[in-house]
């Protein structure tokens, strides 16, 4: 399927409509049901019941917007990682950033510090330090090899996992719950401030990445072809790799480890619209948001008034759905 401007406009429009539909439904659904009349009143600024207003505007909306931003961020990070590492299994956490962020976050929880935004700062520092370590360790004479990067990331992550398991098995019960929730993705502490931070970083990153779409198409084939077609391969590759890692670090430190979305959304979008990044990136950005809003709504409602970590839902719903599509599509992944 050849990418054209027309297809870009159509896909963006259709997915945006879907996005807003899902957004509205997510606002209405939840432990406390918001009647449509109240929703309409809030939207039009009409007088309404204070409780409904507070649920929608102060609790539910920031959380839903956070889910959408995290989903969009992790999905485009997955797209870029897959292309640059030329590996369909690559996802945003392939460099071990999730492990680094987890260690930071767990240290913060264990230390029991009460600094505003401390959880974010600790896990962000953990993720960025990990990025730095992985890049330094995988460097060799004359550049980096993608296989070395992936291997280094996996090994570093395994090391962190061991640390996390050690902490989990030796820690007290009340801290354990906080740690586990973080490890499987926690959107319940979302604030407008967090939404602003992530959506600004996400918009800036997307603005930098998108012009490189055609280069990502070529680099996804191989780097030698990149050289042959006039790309400054090393510069583009590391600029994008570091950029998506920073975006991933923001997402993971604001929301915990939400797995699977960064792997599955890029592949769903490839199935639907092909591998051209000029379509794939915007489609993944929007659909990643849709996917996460659905997952978060499920996390809030399935055992309501209790709540599940959203990462449990992304994998629980995503895995069978993905496998079903894969079995239906007989031509794909046959090599």
């Amino acid at each position: 399927m050849v990418a054209t401007k027309r297809k870009l406009v159509l896909i963006t429009l259709a997915l945006s409509l879907l996005f807003f539909a899902v957004l509205v439904v997510s606002i209405v659904l939840g432990a406390a049901r918001v009647p449509w009349s109240d929703f309409y009143a809030i939207l039009t600024g009409g007088t309404t019941d204070r409780a409904a207003y507070s649920i929608v505007v102060q609790i539910r909306l920031p959380r839903i917007l956070m889910a959408a931003s995290v989903g969009g961020a992790l999905s485009i990070c997955g797209v870029v990682m897959q292309s640059i590492l030329k590996n369909p299994l690559a996802e945003p956490f392939v460099l071990g950033l999730s492990g680094g962020a987890a260690v930071g976050s767990i240290l913060f929880i264990l230390l029991g510090l009460s600094i505003a935004g401390g959880g974010f700062l600790f896990s962000f520092a953990g993720a960025i330090l990990t990025l730095f370590v992985v890049l330094v360790l995988s460097k060799r004479k004359g550049g980096f090899s993608t296989t070395r990067i992936i291997l280094t990331g996996v090994i570093v992550n395994a090391f962190f996992t061991a640390f996390i398991m050690f902490v989990i098995t030796t820690t007290s019960d009340e801290l354990l719950h906080a740690i586990l929730f973080w490890l499987y993705g926690d959107l319940s502490h979302s604030t407008y401030m967090n939404v602003w931070i992530l959506s600004v970083v996400l918009s800036l990153s997307f603005g930098v990445i998108y012009p490189y779409s055609r280069y990502l198409n070529i680099l996804g084939v191989n780097e030698e072809l990149g050289y042959q077609l006039g790309i400054e391969v090393e510069r583009v590759k590391y600029m994008l790799l570091i950029l998506v890692s920073i975006l991933t670090a923001f997402a993971v430190s604001l929301s915990g480890i939400i797995g699977f979305v960064g792997l599955i959304v890029p592949h769903l979008m490839r199935m639907a619209f092909g591998s051209d990044h000029r379509l794939l990136l915007p489609a993944s950005l929007i659909f990643g948001g849709v996917f996460m809003m659905i997952a978060d709504t499920a996390a809030r409602t399935i055992i309501s008034p209790g709540e599940l970590p959203v990462g449990v839902i992304t994998a629980f719903l995503g895995a069978p759905f993905f496998l079903m599509l894969m079995f239906k599509d007989k031509e794909r992944w046959t090599q």
Partner: protein
């Protein structure tokens, strides 16, 4: 005539051992130069040095009068197209999408392909006899079909120079001849300079203006096929006895393989 590609005293080592030693070569504009030699003689490495994918440990390469290090990658890609040995693909892609990638060096960063690009890609696919495969998934193509798609991508790039690494290795005899004839036609009609590595010495002999023979990272000889493709040279370079005579149809040297 001034040469279009000039390699001066190139040496190259991947690790400690020199793969190429003191290669000096002038490629003339509009010529068809073939490179032959046994496995591991440095042919592929030489091609990679000629378009700057690898940097020489010693010596330098110029395009026209400019050292290629001083030319931006994008400008280089507008002038030199490369057909390497088979890449491995990782993601779904149609043959047409792949050929369109050849237009990339001629496009702006954010652009979508225009009419001109579609025409160039379609024409290249017609010339290489793969127009029927446009919508085929690249994974579903046979080795020979894919090889012709790779050549179509290079043609769509509209280069002045084409560097090819064994462009006929996966082709049946009809397509071997067709591709060589096509390269010859591009060479004659569009004055595209061709530098191609060949395993098949007879194809090199028939289609080339000059043939370069390599052995163990050095140039053993360069010259018109009649001068270079001789029994003495081939016996020595390939360490394999051959029989060489003149092809009565073409007047070019003809090589026949023999046992002991």
């Amino acid at each position: 005539m001034d040469s279009i590609i000039r390699a001066r005293d190139l040496s190259f080592a991947y690790t400690d051992e020199l793969v190429l030693q003191n290669i000096t070569l002038e490629v003339l504009p509009g010529e068809f130069l073939s490179v032959i030699g046994p496995n591991g003689s440095g042919k592929t490495t030489l091609l990679k040095l000629l378009y700057g994918y690898l940097s020489p440990s010693k010596g330098n390469v110029s395009l026209g009068d400019t050292p290629i290090k001083k030319i931006t990658r994008r400008d280089l890609a507008r002038r030199i197209a490369v057909v390497s040995q088979m890449p491995r693909f990782h993601f779904e892609l149609t043959a047409f999408e792949f050929v369109l990638m050849g237009r990339s060096p001629h496009m702006g960063l954010l652009a979508f392909e225009g009419k001109e690009d579609f025409e160039a890609a379609s024409e290249a696919m017609t010339l290489t006899d793969v127009a029927d495969f446009k919508e085929r998934n690249i994974f579903s193509l046979s080795g020979g079909e894919l090889q012709r798609v790779l050549i179509a991508r290079a043609l769509a790039q509209a280069p002045q120079v084409m560097l090819l690494d064994e462009p006929t290795s996966y082709l049946d005899i009809k397509h071997q001849v067709n591709i060589c004839q096509l390269l010859k036609k591009m060479n004659k009609d569009k004055a595209i300079t061709i530098v191609s590595v060949f395993h098949d010495i007879n194809l090199a002999s028939y289609f080339s203006d000059r043939v370069m023979v390599m052995k163990e990272g050095r140039i053993h000889g360069v010259g018109p096929p009649e001068e270079v493709i001789t029994k003495e040279t081939l016996d020595f370079v390939y360490d394999c006895p051959v029989f060489v005579d003149e092809n009565p149809q073409t007047g070019r040297p003809r090589v026949t393989l023999m046992g002991e």
